[in-house]
C-alpha cells in the first residue's frame, strides 16, 4: 500500500460517546487524556495512508455531567439550556482531541494543522420528534420535583422504572450542518478537522423572525456524522464503536459476524429487525443514509481492529450502489 494511491481522500471518523471514558472509569481528566491519546494513535494509520481526516464524537457522559452540575448549582449559578451545554462539550472534548492529535502528529513529525469547529446543526421545527420526546437526559428527580418542572418549566418528564423521574427531550433528524463549508474547505486543505461533537448544537429557524435559535434537543451523533460525511464528500465513512464488527442475530446462538455488504443487503437486514434501536440501529441507519446519498465506502469497527480493517481483514465494510 503506497501513500499516493489514496492521497487527498477524505475519511470521516465518528467516535463513540464513550471514547473518552472506558466502562470502569470515573472520567477524570487523566483518563480523558489517555483515551484521547489512544484513539488518536489509532487514527494515525489513516493519516499515514494519506487520508484527510474529519473527526466527529459523542458527548453523552460529559453533557450528562454538565446537566448534573447545572442542577446541583441551581441556587448559585444561573443554569444554561441544553444547546449551550452541548456547545461546552464541543469546546472541552474538541480541545482534548485536538491536543492529543497534535501530540501524535508532532511525535511523527507530520505537519498538519488541527482545527476544532464549533458546529451548529439545523433541525426542522416540524420534525415529528418534537411531538414525541424520546431521549432521557440529566439526573433523576423525585416525582414531585419532576411534575413541578413539567408545570413551571414546560419540561417533558418520564418515570424510569424504579429509578426515579427524568427529563426527556426530542431527538430530531439533522437537516443542515451550518459550518459544512468551512469544515469541507479545511479538510480539503489537509487539516485534521474535529466537528459535529455530540451530534452538533441543535438550532432551528424561528418561524416568526426567521432567526436561528438554539433548541433543547439532542441530535443522534451518527446521523449528524452521516450527513457531514455526505456534505464533505467523504470517500470513507468510518464509525468506531465498541465491537469489532456488526452481527446478524446479535447475542443469540445464531450470531454471525458480517464482513462486507452492499447497501441493498443492509437495508433488507435492517427491515428484518437485526439492528435494534438501542444499539446498532442508529449506526446502521447512518450508514444507509450516507450510502444512499451517494457515499462510496463505509466501515464499522473498533479502534483495535481498525488496522486490520483497513487491510480488509476485519470490521464490517459497506459499499453503495455500483
Amino acid at each position: 500500500m503506497t501513500t499516493s494511491s489514496t492521497e487527498q481522500q477524505v475519511a470521516l471518523v465518528a467516535l463513540g460517546g464513550h471514547a473518552f471514558i472506558a466502562e470502569d472509569q470515573k472520567g477524570t481528566i487523566d483518563e480523558h487524556e489517555q483515551n484521547a491519546a489512544n484513539i488518536c494513535e489509532a487514527l494515525m494509520l489513516l493519516v499515514e495512508r494519506g487520508y484527510n481526516l474529519v473527526i466527529t464524537h459523542g458527548n453523552g457522559p460529559q453533557v450528562g455531567n454538565l446537566l448534573l452540575q447545572n442542577e446541583t448549582s441551581r441556587e448559585s449559578v444561573v443554569p444554561m439550556p441544553l444547546d449551550v451545554l452541548v456547545a461546552q462539550t464541543e469546546g472541552s472534548l474538541g480541545y482534548m482531541l485536538q491536543n492529543a492529535m497534535l501530540n501524535q502528529l508532532r511525535k511523527r513529525s507530520v505537519k498538519r494543522y488541527v482545527l476544532t469547529v464549533v458546529t451548529q446543526v439545523q433541525v426542522d421545527p416540524d420534525d415529528p420528534a418534537f411531538d414525541n420526546p424520546t431521549k432521557p437526559i440529566g439526573p433523576f428527580m423525585s416525582r414531585e420535583e419532576a411534575l413541578r418542572r413539567a408545570r413551571d418549566m414546560d419540561w417533558d418528564v418520564v418515570e424510569d422504572a424504579g429509578r426515579g423521574w427524568r427529563r426527556r427531550v426530542p431527538s430530531p433528524r439533522p437537516l443542515k450542518i451550518i459550518q459544512r463549508h468551512s469544515i469541507r474547505e479545511a479538510a480539503s486543505q489537509g487539516h485534521v478537522v474535529i466537528a459535529g461533537g455530540g451530534g452538533g448544537i441543535p438550532i432551528m429557524e424561528d418561524k416568526e423572525t426567521g432567526e436561528y435559535k438554539g433548541v433543547e434537543a439532542v441530535i443522534d451523533k451518527d446521523y449528524t456524522s452521516a450527513l457531514l460525511a455526505h456534505q464533505v464528500k467523504a470517500d470513507l465513512f468510518c464509525i468506531l464503536t465498541q465491537v469489532p464488527q456488526v452481527y446478524l442475530n446479535y447475542g443469540t446462538p445464531q450470531e454471525r459476524p458480517l464482513g462486507a455488504l452492499t447497501v441493498e443487503m443492509l437495508r433488507r437486514q435492517m427491515a428484518e429487525g437485526h439492528f435494534p434501536p438501542g444499539s446498532m440501529g442508529p449506526k446502521v441507519q447512518a450508514i444507509i443514509d450516507y450510502l444512499e446519498a451517494g457515499g462510496k465506502r463505509a466501515l464499522i469497527t473498533n479502534p483495535q481492529t481498525l488496522p486490520d480493517a483497513l487491510d480488509g481483514a476485519g470490521g464490517t465494510h459497506f459499499v453503495g450502489r455500483c
Copy 2:
C-alpha cells in the same frame, strides 16, 4: 466611504469579559443572547466597510460560574481543570456569538461564513508568572478549606481582605497561538472567525516528553488578542471596552480624553503610570505590543462609540512607527 477602499483588510476586535453580561444582569441565556445580538449589530459596520473580521472575547463571569459549579458538584461529578473549563467557555460563548453573527448577516443578506476555532495558546513553563500567581479565581473558601487544598491539591491560595480565601493561578504571557494558521487562512478567505476566547486555552510543552499539555493558568485576553492581531496581520486592532475613550489622569480633576497617539507617546504615558494594572493597563500594553510588532492601527472605544470612531470622530486611535 466606499466598501472597496478597505476591501480585504482584516480587523481584529477584542470584546470585553463582560460583553455578554451587563452590570445589572444575572447572566441568563436570554441576556447573553441579547447582548451578543447587540455587539454583533455594532460589528456589522466593520463588515459593511469591507473588513474581514476576527473576534476575540473574554470569559471571566462564565469561567467563574463553571468553577463554582465544579466546586458545588464535587461530590457527584469529577471536577475538570481550569484549561478544560476555558475550553468549555470557548464552545459556549463561541456558539452564542456565532449564532448572533449569523443572524445579523442573514438579516442583511450578506453571505459570509462564521467559524469558531477552539484556540490553544502556548505559554513558557519558565515564565516568571509561574513563581508568582496573581490571578484570583473561583469561589471563596474558609481558611481551613483553603489550607487543606493548598496541602492536598498543591493550590496557591490567598486571603481576600475580609471576604474569605480564594485560589490564585498564574497569568503567563502568550507565546504562540497554535491555531494561528487556520485562523489567518479563514479570515483571509472572508469568513468571520471567532478565536482566542478567554485569552485561549493555556498549554505548554512538557519539558520531559515534549508533548503539549494543558496548564491551570489564565492568559490575559488582551495580550492574546494583540499576539493574534499580529499573527493574522490585522490592519486594525480594536479593543471594545466599557468607556468611549482612554483618559490621562483618569478619575481625577485633571482627567483628559485621548484622541490619537503614536506608540511612542503611549509608551511614555504608560511609563508615567497613567494606566493602572487593574483597569486600562493591560489594554494599553496590548496595543503597545501590537504596534511594536509592526501593527498599523489600533483603537480603543466602546460599542456605542464605534460608528463615530470609524469616522475618526470618537474613541482613542493609535498608530505605529511611521
